[in-house]
Symmetry: D2
Subunit: 139 residues, 4 copies
């Protein structure tokens, strides 16, 4: 299961170097994983009522700058799943198929009812089949 979401680069995403400002790739990653979860059957609003998934670590490798009005494909998959944490992998490609950025986010599982870390519930495990190597390999 690798989810693909298409994003159009907006004016406000770019900076005075005429390329996408670097922090916005984390926003694109987030859009990718929200759509991953929707494609697996749950909206982020529904998930948030049951479980929170705070980001513990985020890594981005910047390969090729994206520019205003570019159409980007955000590929997103679960690259690792442990008892109480999991990892999303990402690859962003431009319309010509060239890699723009790769990266990962590591998430913990937190129960808003008890305000404590918790193991991934079975319904969440089921939504997250592990794909160790995505289109970009290990990230």
């Amino acid at each position: 299961m690798i989810a693909t979401t298409t994003i159009r680069v907006r004016y406000g995403d770019t900076d005075c170097m005429k390329v996408v400002y670097y922090s916005n790739y984390l926003t694109y990653f987030e859009v990718g994983r929200v759509e991953y979860l929707r494609q697996q059957g749950m909206s982020i609003a529904d998930i948030n009522e049951k479980i929170h998934m705070p980001v513990v670590e985020a890594l981005v490798r910047f390969v090729k700058p994206a520019r205003l009005d570019d159409l980007l494909d955000v590929h997103c998959w679960v690259s690792e799943r442990k008892r109480a944490s999991f990892r999303f992998g990402y690859e962003i490609r431009d319309a010509a198929g060239a890699t723009v950025a790769t990266g990962h986010t590591l998430h913990a599982c937190w129960d808003p009812a008890t305000s404590k870390m918790t193991a991934l519930p079975p319904w969440l495990q089921q939504m997250m089949p592990v794909v160790p190597e995505g289109p970009a390999g290990r990230v």
Copy 2:
């Protein structure tokens, strides 16, 4: 009472036209009014516990583009106060004193305890002496 707050233009504030992206002036306005309130004795976190002040209308006039690393002065004052609403006026100037942008935000007063609009409490009125014309005149 006119509060002045200094802001440095960040990379992420600019866009590929090499000037500050237009929506960021609303962010600068917000920084200006939060500092206005602090200078009048209350942090925004303390105010939020008692009263919410949602923005009902916002206007920006863009006079002169600001650029990366510019130091901007945000001048902020209360230009109008009614029973259950009030208006902040703003003028942003660059280091040479030239006007970069002017504008206003119109706010309602909302009580989080009752989830209803409410009149400005006396302590808030006292924090908000009206200055009908700011440095930029009526905005």
Copy 3:
């Protein structure tokens, strides 16, 4: 000619009041007008090579707060056209059809070749039929 663009509210668009942060409506307006121009036959990158259209004034009226993951329709039209300036009108509606925000942006026409204001060229006039009152009336 009224262009409609659908936008999904992202995490980073919201703020700690659990609603869309107010400056982001200007970003949504910008997405709406870029798509308006594309539907009229030109990408913003192509237009930028010929003519720049700096925003001179922006107004937003906030009607109903949007929230995380909401699907919003941005309606955009040209509400006024003068010799060397024009106005876009906007209305943002949620999935139930309720008005979230309305507003306008006023633009000047600037020639990057001469670095001077200029009249709207005929090809741009043709792309911009005037619709004085949009779905929201005059804004």
Copy 4:
């Protein structure tokens, strides 16, 4: 040489989880390194005329969520310097001294005159004494 810059968390920096949205830590890192360079004698605008320093990789470890109106100290130092690349280390602490986030950015050195990667010029090397372990240790 460890530069320290103080940042106030703005409304727009937070998200509907009532904490700072995760991509904004990259913005805070950028503010920290721009101020590092200024404290070492050059503004980013001056540097950009001579050399560009694109980010090749960015890592953030999220330790403790920051909230609206928090005052954060961004500590920034050069943790590694090679012939044609270098690494900034970062630690963000709150007003009580607790670590909020740590991370690094890896930069290449690019000559805008030749549009090619280049070795760090001597003036840039001199501005960047290496501090292998910052306040947070290796990041």
